[in-house]
Amino acid sequence: MRLALAIGTFFILVIHGVVFYNQFFHQWERNQHAYFDQARVLAKTDVERSTLASRKPRIEQIVVSNFGETRVDRCTTCHIASDDPRFATYAEPLKAHPYSTTLGDAQKNGKWERRHKFSEFGCTVCHDGQGRGLDPEYSHGKDEYWPEPLLGYTTQENWRKDFAPKLKGKEYMQANCAQCHTEIAFPGTPLVTKGRELFFSSNCYGCHRIEGLSDGTIGPDLSDVGKKWKLDYLWGRIADPKSILATSIMPKFNLKEEDIKALVVFLKSRKGRNFAETEIQRFKVKLTGGAELVQATIKPVHINPAEMVKQGEKLVLDRACTACHKLGDRDGGIAPDLSFEGLLKDGPWIYDHFKNPKSTMPDSIMPAFRFTDDEFKAMTAYLLTLKGTSPAGNGEAIYKALCLRCHGEKGDGRGPIAEHLDPYPRDLTKAGFMNSKPEARLVASIRNGVAGTSMPAWGKLLSEEQAKAVLSHIQTTFTKEARRELKVRPIPEKNPVAMSKESVARGEGIFVERCAGCHGKKGDGKGPNSLDILPKPRNLRNTFFVDSVDDRRLFESIQYGVQGTAMPPWIDYGLTNNDVGDLVNFIRSINQKQQKGGQHAAPVQ
């Protein structure tokens, strides 16, 4: 017992001693002693020597309040020779900070003079790191919870091993230069300039918002991304988006390593408010949407009518359309194939879709990009020349070439890009749906497309026979059930209820009561029950679709339900022909003109 006690107390004494030693005999003191010793050797006059003799180790600090929050930088406690030119060739920490013309340092009478004096700027403004720290590990930000490790010098333990070596280098500090030097194309920050250009040329701005530069809404706001995230995360999100967030829909762009670096530096420089900006300047940038900055960065291409197609092709390829779309060998894996665009769409459709994607596809997620009208025209002209090559072979080959990208390998409507389409591609394995529709309608869907959805009209590419071959391939491989004779049902060809205010009002009443649970109060297919339903309830405000469907089909879908979906046969729940007529009138009325504002589906006044 006594022995254990003795050992115990001795152990405590040792620990106590170590703590004591660490607390009162610091590395920085030893560094300062080393500096004084060296300086004494280098001293030339007695005055210098006597000055040195009076200096004792102490914590040196620079207090800087000009750049955001007040900074207390104690870096010079260890790096005590940082402003002593005699120590230019010594090893760290006793190394003088180099002079450089790129930093604005100038030589006067053979002596260097700093542009950024340490006493005014401190250290962490440029270098990051933990200014108050006195322990190398903490002050350099090696600790994984410190948000700002020394920029370009320190990588943290938990950073991805394959990225970490790429995140070292002085050039990363340009991100901090840009906190004050916000000029476009500032010569000291070439990577920021390049990154800003890439932000536009790679169409990042289509999805992401950066205050004063862009206003995309699909991706996260990047206005202060540099403040929130470290280099490792930024690099990862660009180089391999899914590795950081498995559900990320951001495409993996085909970027070179230098390009990623430039983007990372540019994003790191986005820290919200800049030191150099006044409130007024910031307000101005906000008002104009940074028009000056944007104009200086996106240089519109002068379109020469003679070379329109060629210039359009260059724009489409250079501006990363294939980051989402497929075109020849390039495939972004997000959006539809453009290889046959010239056959599937016409000029005005493509042009309108460019100008405002939602104007032609109500639920499109494609952003409206900033191009000039001439550029849009050139790109349209180029897309119209894309006719692809007519797929040869049997139904299976055609399915693989044209349909698989959306409808999927198994025909279940879960192709590679399906999740980005709204409405989703049809699940072709649902025999209930497939076999309840006449063959002629299915062939028509293939050849004429489905208006307002991503299903294009393949009619110019596929003959009647080819479409039928594809359909029979689908029937035998995916649907599997044989077709049966369809029942003949009493369905009115035309809506028996005349369109009137009263009919629409009655229709709205029934809609809210019976339909809104799935189709939503607004009729946009986003009712509370819609989340659990696949295929999703139809968006009844998709005017292109609703207009393409005749009264007979609306009656059939409502009265007898849609087999293979959640739409029930309402005839079983007591809806009469007149009720359905009112509903049809209501659905037609909300598509008669674009309604603006208003929470509820309001009939036309």
Binding site: T9, H16, F20, A39, V63, D84, S119
Partner: protein
């Protein structure tokens, strides 16, 4: 433990057993009192803070060329007055030794606006309630060619830095 007891009781003399106990007692005592002593010393060391908040006491005030001969420049934010006469430089405090107001320059030297203390060119008291002359701070030429003032070190009035 049992083994130890057996071994010690197996020894011939009583003396061996007690000295072993004593030894352990000593070790325990040394450990405990050593730790206590270290804690006590640590407390005393912590009485004076090592770093203070606010601007550092040693700072650079620019190049000697910025102060031509005959200059008496008051740097209000730093609380000092840089004096240059020929090739001689000095830094005099501008904090009144009476109640700590900032003194201003006057024809005859410095004058305090608060209670009328007056100082001559070298900071000696010539009138008013100030009890002591204005202190002079150490002024040196840093290796990068700039003048450095250290407000932590007071030097005898009249001692200049000669360039």
């Amino acid at each position: 433990m049992a083994v130890n007891l057996k071994r010690s009781s197996g020894e011939d003399s009583d003396g061996g057993k007690t000295s072993r106990r004593k030894m352990l007692g000593w070790l325990t005592g040394a450990g405990l009192f050593g730790s206590a002593g270290l804690s006590a010393v640590s407390n005393f060391v912590f009485i004076k803070p090592r770093a203070t908040y606010g601007q550092p006491q040693r700072f650079s005030v620019g190049k000697p060329e910025d102060y031509p001969s005959g200059t008496r420049a008051i740097l209000a934010s730093r609380g000092i007055c840089i004096i240059r006469e020929g090739s001689k430089l000095a830094a005099i405090s501008t904090t009144c030794t009476h109640l700590g107001c900032t003194v201003g320059a006057a024809d005859t030297g410095f004058a305090c606006p608060c209670h009328g203390s007056r100082f001559d060119q070298d900071g000696n008291v010539t009138g008013g309630p100030a009890p002591r002359p204005l202190p002079w701070f150490q002024i040196t030429l840093a290796p990068n060619g700039e003048i450095e003032v250290d407000k932590d070190i007071e030097i005898a009035p009249g001692s200049y830095l000669t360039l």
